[in-house]
Amino acid sequence: MITKTFSATLRGLHSLLIGLGVTRNNLFRSSVTVHYPRETANLEGFRGPVELVPTEEDPTKPKCTACGNCIRICPSDCLYMTAAKPKKKEPQEDTSFNGQTAEESKTEKPAKKPKPEPQSFVLDFTYCSQCGLCVQHCPVGSLRFSNDVYLAGFSREEFVFDLLAKLKSQAQQKEQ
């Protein structure tokens, strides 16, 4: 009985020394935290409000075909889109592009049907729960999560985003 108590105590004291060793080792290791405002980490997988993906030919035009899948699947009803009447594309326009892209577009879409386009595309971010169903269900991959993680505003209206206008301004910024 007595020997048991003493050996348990000795083992306890030994474990205290082991604990001190653990903290001593950690004391001299580099820190694993990030100085947040000066450096950031792991923002790549962060979900910002969804935005439209531009086509390869024209960075101001979205890939969107105005099918309306995203609007139907959205559980929060926060996407609004109106489809434009499909314009007939003139053959002159195709030649005005540089040769390569024109050829590519020809090979991709041999049927010369003009692509339907959205006329307006609005995201009411105040309702959005960032579930990502719209991104998953877009048949042409025209929606993606943005990297805008620093959102702040003074009114609700500021969080109703016109995604087409945003796409155009992004294209302009890229040109500059």
Binding site: G19, T23, T33
Partner: protein, 325 residues
């Protein structure tokens, strides 16, 4: 200037000494708060304070200024006299006690032959301060913290004294200067080698007496919010905080003087050696704080009554037997 001449020399020395001691306590408080938080950060693989000043070195200054600027506030139902008396009672003995500590061969405010008794007696007053603070706050957390503190301090006072007694019997003096200078300059001449058990018990008791982790039950955040100083804010809290760090320094000074040869060192004996030893002990205390979790209350008292006191008594008896042989 004329008036200064008529002040008795002893009183003058004590006045200057007390002023120096207060500056010493304040500087130590700033440095220890910073070290505590920075080392805690490093042990937890964080960076610790970083924003105020280079590497956050001015963080404790900013904290102190913030505490200075806060409103002095008496909670409803609190005893107006005792509530404000408690932090003052807590810090005063801490200041007084430093005058008996020999920092160097010629650096001591008063060389009194009851230095050890003076320190051990005055530091006991801190318990009263915490008790008053907890009682006067009219707050259940504060009262529980105060009750815990009394039980803890009373219990750990016994092995503390029992582990000092062998040294006193060996040296035959209460004079801290004589105890320090009675040891040699080299580590193998220090009393820690003659009394290793007493040293360990004394160190643990100092941790417990200063309410230092893992014995910080009187202010256990998880169950008592902040324990005895739950209701205190501003400078009243700052005084408690400063007193806690001052008692840590006093404890380290005592250990350094009694067991580690005080101001003596292999080369260039003096205050530098004393401060180095004190700071090594303080760093070990900080290291222990960030390593061990808080004890449960029954564990705390079991460690004291079932292990420390019997071992201290046996150690004392063995020492007496060896001395008398």
């Amino acid at each position: 200037m004329m008036d200064l001449i008529f002040i008795p020399w002893q009183l003058f020395v004590i006045g200057v000494g007390l002023a120096a001691v207060m500056a010493f306590i304040g500087l130590n408080g700033l440095l220890l708060v910073y070290l505590d938080r920075k080392i805690g950060g490093f042990i937890q693989r964080r960076v610790g304070p970083y924003e105020v000043g280079p590497q956050g070195i001015l963080q404790p200054v900013a904290d102190g200024l913030k505490l200075l600027g806060k409103q002095v506030f008496t909670p409803r139902g609190a005893d107006p006299v005792l509530y404000w008396l408690a932090p003052m009672i807590s810090i005063t003995p801490a200041i007084v006690v430093f005058i008996a500590i020999p920092f160097g061969p010629r650096l001591q405010v008063i060389n009194t032959n009851v230095g050890l008794i003076l320190i051990l007696a005055f530091t006991g007053i801190n318990v009263l301060a915490l008790c008053l603070g907890g009682w006067a706050s009219q707050n259940k957390y504060a009262l529980l913290g105060a009750a815990r503190d009394i039980a803890q301090s009373v219990a750990y006072e016994i092995p503390l004294l029992l582990s000092v007694l062998p040294i006193i019997f060996m040296t035959g003096t209460f004079n801290l200067f004589d105890i320090a200078s009675g040891q040699g300059a080299w580590p193998w001449q220090w009393y820690i080698l003659y009394q290793p058990v007493a040293f360990l018990i004394f160190f643990v008791c100092i941790l417990a007496e200063t309410n230092r982790s893992p014995f910080d039950l009187p202010e256990g955040e998880s169950e008592l919010t902040a324990g005895f100083h739950t209701d205190y804010s501003g400078m009243a809290f700052a005084l408690f905080f400063l007193a806690e760090y001052a008692y840590m320094v006093i404890g380290s000074c005592l250990i350094a003087t009694i067991f580690l040869g005080g101001f003596q060192g292999p080369i260039l004996s003096g205050a530098w050696w004393f401060l180095a030893k004190v700071y090594i002990l303080l760093l070990i205390m900080i290291w222990i704080r960030w390593t061990f979790p808080r004890l449960r209350f029954d564990q705390l008292l079991n460690v004291c009554w079932k292990w420390m006191i019997p071992i201290a008594v046996v150690n004392l008896l063995v020492t007496l037997a060896v001395i008398s042989l």
